[in-house]
Subunit: 342 residues, 2 copies
DNA sequence: CGGCGGATCGAAAGCGATTCCGCCGGCGCC
DNA sequence: GGCGCCGGCGGAATCGCTTTCGATCCGCCG
């Protein structure tokens, strides 16, 4: 196979110097149209393609964005990764992906591997708080969805979104509600829970009291199923009439538990999720949830990263309530008419 | 921030030449233990980290593996990506991910972007046949799951796996079966279908005849739901008693259609999938399917890529049947006793 | 008409590593 | 004892590009 042509070859073929070739390549500097034309002809004649590596060495910059996610298998992160990849591509950048498998050590080694690789910037969807990172970041880093270290955070407005869910459930008449929270060591888990609770407290002060019960788990299916099973295996009058989960996966687990216990959703029990993963629209019944605008998050994160100078302020984008079949009016209303057996 | 130390700094600090430093770095060449020690001390004293870019320029080789998938949002591909990332990491390599969004043009531009970037090798899970690729591949390329161009293929043994499903369904007594096939322009779609059909034909010759009906769609949820809805909206005696789908997503779509039409799975209808995505174990009822050993596929693909010389022969790994709740004995058996109304 | 500033371009100096080439010293062998 | 060979090392070239540094040339002002 013939050696790949270099700037030198192009320069000779066009009868100019390598400097000039480089100048037309970058497009910035002033080059006379005649020469520019000749160079462009030479480039296409030789099929020249710039050597990315050499450029990177010289400028110590690449057009690669590093992304670290806790688990690419998680549909929400997959969605995020897809959106980031698209957003990066739109800016002429490529994506390098690393999955930390929820291991904070792996997470940090991935970050420093990216640093070694002179990436243009790093986006990390944290699985830890990132406190142990020692490397001085020579490139912009931003946290997405969950805070990493002290880097600026782009995330859904968890508080606003959780409030949406609270309003929805309260509006449907539910007064005995269980909240399945996410891990308290994640900002997302904490904020969603706190906003939900404080909204409900607000209702309790101004209107009818609501019984709120909180259970903590991880964000995954199993947690949701296990917790819901506990919640729902009590006698009907002690059961919550609505379960709000901190993630779709928990909610789907809860759906499965309800089904196993033969509790009709949404007629006996309402279930809500958070994320709007694609699966949410495929389970039976379809899940009422919060849509996290993944592509908007991605776009913001990428442009923060690429901005000159890189953005340094947190950003938050609003979620929206997606009402589907898993939530409905509180059955208790009927019970109250026929006589409450409590 | 202080300039990063280079080989030159290390050399000075250790009192040797840069050549020697490089030699101990590579570990291959012969260096006297005394000097080796001094160099290592200097390295850790200065906190030296080799510059990946410079190394790449000089050797025109990196430790990055490029992966192109049709859609990272698809759980099966996400699984595959996760496994590949892990396998790559085990060999000290990183992963660069690109999602082609089922666009063959994007696919090819991603491949050539990888080529530009001097990756160590490229794994592509094709969404097209890759015929339009013009770049001469300067690095090993291998196809995973679906054939890309003329590059060696690592895939599940589709034929063997489809046969497993056919045997399972036939063994349960089903004689009126519908097969939801994948796109005929994918090798996976074709092979699964053909093996299934030919197995059924075999049964027809030696034993009872089976009515086999084939419908073609894409691999996604919607295709499965749509096709199943058509199939199942006929009167009960004309309906298939089993639907075998070419992907889990199709099967899950079919499950949803059956539910919407109030057809009991598995008592009135058996449904089987293909892939064993994690969701398969979460739907109701849990899906009988074929497990594609994603991590084994990934491991094989990576080692083929990294082998010296790179592997050139196709490889195939067997799938295994996972029997869950969505398949059961044919209800027809009963019907036959009470008199077949056909 | 001389000088001056800006536009334009060529030449060369790196970026940080690998690797080839050649020198040096010690060893074995004739 | 001399010669050749080889292990071990230092120095320099090199990978392909960007960018600085002057040099040149032009128009224009005084």
């Amino acid at each position: 196979m013939a050696r790949m042509p270099t700037v030198k070859d192009v320069a000779e073929h066009a009868g100019v110097s390598v400097g000039t070739v480089s100048r037309v390549l970058s497009g910035e500097a002033a080059v006379k149209p005649v020469l520019r034309e000749k160079v462009n002809n030479a480039i296409s004649a030789l099929g020249y393609r710039p050597n990315v590596t050499a450029r990177a060495l010289r400028t110590s910059r690449t057009d690669v964005i590093g992304l670290v996610v806790p688990d690419i298998t998680n549909p929400f992160f997959a969605q995020l990764a897809a959106s980031i990849e698209r957003a990066a591509l739109e800016c002429g950048h490529s994506l390098m992906l690393a999955s930390s498998h929820n291991d904070s050590e792996a997470e940090q080694s991935h970050v420093s591997a990216f640093l070694d690789r002179a990436v243009r910037g790093i986006i990390v969807v944290a699985s830890s708080d990132g406190s142990g990172l020692d490397l001085p970041a020579s490139v912009p880093v931003i946290s997405l969805d969950r805070r990493f270290g002290t880097f600026p955070l782009v995330s859904t407005n968890h508080a606003q979104a959780a409030t949406l869910i609270a309003d929805h459930l309260y509006g449907l008449g539910h007064r005995r509600i269980a909240y399945i929270a996410g891990p308290t060591d994640t900002e997302a888990g904490r904020m969603r829970k706190e906003a939900f609770v404080s909204r409900m407290d607000g209702f309790a002060k101004t209107g009818e009291a609501v019984e709120l019960e909180i259970a903590y788990g991880r964000f995954d299916y199993e947690s949701g199923e296990r917790i819901a099973r506990n919640l729902l295996s009590r006698p009907a009058q002690d059961r919550p009439t609505a379960i709000a989960a901190a993630s779709d996966q928990q909610a789907i687990g809860a759906l499965r538990a309800a089904r196993d216990l033969k509790i009709d959703v949404p007629r006996k029990l309402s279930v809500t999720g958070f994320d709007d993963i694609s699966l949410a629209n495929l389970v039976v019944p379809r899940l009422t949830t919060i849509r996290q605008p993944a592509d908007m998050l991605a776009r913001r994160a990428v442009s923060l990263l690429l901005a000159e100078p890189p953005g340094t302020a947190d950003e938050t984008v609003d979620g929206s309530l997606i009402v589907r079949g898993s939530s409905g009016p509180c059955p208790q209303a009927k019970a109250d008419i026929t006589g409450h057996t409590n």
